[in-house]
Symmetry: C2
Subunit: 571 residues, 2 copies
Amino acid sequence: MPRTLARYLPILTWARSYTRETFSQDMVAAVIVTIMLIPQSLAYALLAGLPPEAGLYASILPIVLYALFGTSTVLAVGPVAVVSLMTAAAIGEVAAQGTAGYATAALTLAGLSGAILLGLGLLRLGFLANFLSHPVIAGFINASGILIALSQMGHILGIKTSGHTLTHLLHSLWSGLGTFNLITLLIGGSAAAFLFWVRKGLKPLLLNLGLGPRLADVLTKAGPVAAVVVTTALAGVLRLDTQGVAIVGTVPQSLPPFTLPDTSLDLIKALILPAVLISIIGFVESISVAQTLAAKRRQRIDPNQELIGLGAANLGAAISGGYPVTGGFSRSVVNFDAGAATPAAGAFTAVGLAIAALALTPLIYFLPKATLAATIIVAVLSLVDLSILKRAWAYSGADFAAILTTILLTLGFGVEIGVSAGVILSIALHLNKTSKPHVAEVGLVPGTEHFRNIKRHSVTTCPSVVTLRVDESLYFANARFLEDYIADRITEDCAVKHVILQFTAVNEVDMSALESLEAINTRLKAMGVKLHLSEVKGPVMDRLQRSHFLQEMGGTVYLSQYEAWQALRDT
Amino acid sequence: MPRTLARYLPILTWARSYTRETFSQDMVAAVIVTIMLIPQSLAYALLAGLPPEAGLYASILPIVLYALFGTSTVLAVGPVAVVSLMTAAAIGEVAAQGTAGYATAALTLAGLSGAILLGLGLLRLGFLANFLSHPVIAGFINASGILIALSQMGHILGIKTSGHTLTHLLHSLWSGLGTFNLITLLIGGSAAAFLFWVRKGLKPLLLNLGLGPRLADVLTKAGPVAAVVVTTALAGVLRLDTQGVAIVGTVPQSLPPFTLPDTSLDLIKALILPAVLISIIGFVESISVAQTLAAKRRQRIDPNQELIGLGAANLGAAISGGYPVTGGFSRSVVNFDAGAATPAAGAFTAVGLAIAALALTPLIYFLPKATLAATIIVAVLSLVDLSILKRAWAYSGADFAAILTTILLTLGFGVEIGVSAGVILSIALHLNKTSKPHVAEVGLVPGTEHFRNIKRHSVTTCPSVVTLRVDESLYFANARFLEDYIADRITEDCAVKHVILQFTAVNEVDMSALESLEAINTRLKAMGVKLHLSEVKGPVMDRLQRSHFLQEMGGTVYLSQYEAWQALRDT
């Protein structure tokens, strides 16, 4: 078996050791995940503004393709809340909900996402996702959670809402409030209350009743299924649709259709930016779930191969009537807890959903949309955790600013502007921080060979020798800072004969910094002061040796600060 | 005397100790600089597309204002080549050369520059200029030098040229080539040849004749004056203007007029971006000259006060018929060499130029424009030094890429696009570099307490303890890199019981990195491996203590790596 092929097709590795035992483990997990996925898929399709079957279709071919190309044994790929919201926002700009153009735009968005993810994976550019910092992700998830919950309030109240920003949503809720439907509200409200109770109260109860913690967990996760079954039965028996309760209605009984995205240049131009953002956000969500679960089993996740797996899954969604997908958090945890042993569990889930799409759709004819909305609200509100703001405030002002900016701009202007502003702000704050590095003047701790900050410790110094420890790599943004710092320190102190720069924490000296070092050296020479370096790292030294700086420098490069001190203190 | 006032008005400090001796030093310097400045001011005005008197006016009030607010004793403020080129490019977009609107736009540009510089100074934002990295500055100066020299070739050939990019300039030179004027070419060509010889050959000759090096220098710098005098006399005696030689013509005999910039919003919008760039580039050029000269006299330059001084100078240019100014390199060096002792030397220069503007302008009626063009070409070609590309190639690929990009885009699309692209590329390359930090697995150098890279040194290790030294601050762009790195290293090595992260070179741990450390800790715990830290710096430790990470961490924080090794190697 050629190794490159095995790298790009992990299935070639795990399928060889597939046994009857792993098969039965995978089957059990697949059944549990399928039951959980059916209401979730329908609900997220609703959130994306698509017909319910789009959610089912998005969970079939994509799962199979991820099983072929992905590296996680337990990641469950399919529609997720945040990506569904972003899909609705993106394609809402180019087509009206319910039109054929809207569904086609969703396919195109999935196709673009797939191409982007695949491209990033093949070019091994997965690290780009790192620029989505933790504060930006946290801010964006919180704000999205609030926006998603608000967008579903209309279904719970039985009124039409529109918009993907806080003001639009609040405005449309407020103006529709007069036309709310009481029965819808009763169904949606009690479903939500039931689901909240399942999350908070059911598990302790089951544990008290003597159930094992794993079974209790799985039963808790099945709460939405119970809500779906009960409210659908109620709506069917009482014919609530005649009372103004919105129901799912006819869902075609079929396997996923073969579809083609629209490749017109105008549509692609309109969707390319949202597609980039959906891809990266989806990838970040997926990879962090996959890595956390993989560590529990000492398994490895290859981020670039994950990009390929998710890319294939999205391309699959594009040609089978779906919309953008990614690895979901809650269903992957269920899959893991239920004992899925290989990606085959995912393939079996796909079979389960295919059966549901073929045979079970008539059963959900009477399913109230308010029930689906309730499952979404309960799911996303668990993601909203504004205490991150408090923690960030305590930890670092820059991180706090990034979170707050992302939250406010996402709420006010949508996910794209919020996340872009958050990323730009994070980079700007980081550059600002490194542009004013911490520089400590150090002295010898008596009786040791260690040097410490003269402001924090009682140390030995010598008036003719100034040692400065620079706590940052030297590059263009902070190079001149050091020039100014040394000029400030030395200019008026005529006792100084030697300046030692201790480079322990300097991991890089770029050309601008080299220029600054040369300027520092020239200016110190003009004052009759010698410049020395100590504890220069290998890679930095290699590079300095390729320039003329070391020849021009007045002083010496010492291996250790202590050596420098010994050589210079008596001169 | 209140201290804040003294900070913003340095004159209050130096004027108190002004003596007869400093007065005579300043007078000598002022006379020399005045003689040098007259042809330079006329030439740079020509380069900016303005009438010659604009150059003189830009050297009078701005110099006086800088003397009041600046901190350098020797910086000579006025029109400079690069800023003149950028002025021509910027206002060429909004008005036609020779119109009243063109001169007004120049005033507006100076006013905007002044306001920006003053604002940056008062807000103490001088560090922003650092984002103009050395490669970008070098690239931009080289490209500008080539563009300026080409733009003056038209004057030497006696043909009309236009444009501010390589292709435009070459095209207009080529299409005008048929109409060149032989006498103009003879004057311009011999002036250029003479000036090149003055630069290269005159100084050694004078030194051989027994002159002092300082006098030889000053005489060399007076070369342009000789060229102006001789060619003007020639043109006047032979009435070369009737032979098609372009001459300066009538220059009004007056002190600088009182002028007002145009404050219409459209014009400000069109000029604001060029103004930002002119301000920052002018500031960078000026501050580096000022600091280099100040170091030679052990004097201090305050970068933020320099912004205020240059801001005042530009506002002065805006209200006295000038255009954007900054501290010039060559004239400041002359001022320094001639012995200027205080900023009063600048004020005396202003008086000299005012006398020139009042009384001497009739003398330059016959001054051929080709002579001025020759002085510009010789001055800027000395700035062109493409060997920087070779040095950058040897030193670092990222710096080389930044220089090449800036040069090519400046030549092809102008200074604004070239410099912006260079800055963005520099930032992107820096982030890319820090996003893949160097991580070394280290072991104990036998017989010492030092730890070194196991790949570079022969060191002692222990199969159950893995020590990783992270050579970079941990922040969002590289946080997940460490997660992947550790997962790769540990997952399949079941002997490992302890992972120590040696934080010697970690100057920051932001919230994203904290999240990653938590993830690493959780995953290692799941594998039965303990995470430890060693040599954590004070500020980093302070911050970690404000989070829950240290409580959750399985292992210990050791002060030194050797302590960690001793504690863990036998477990």
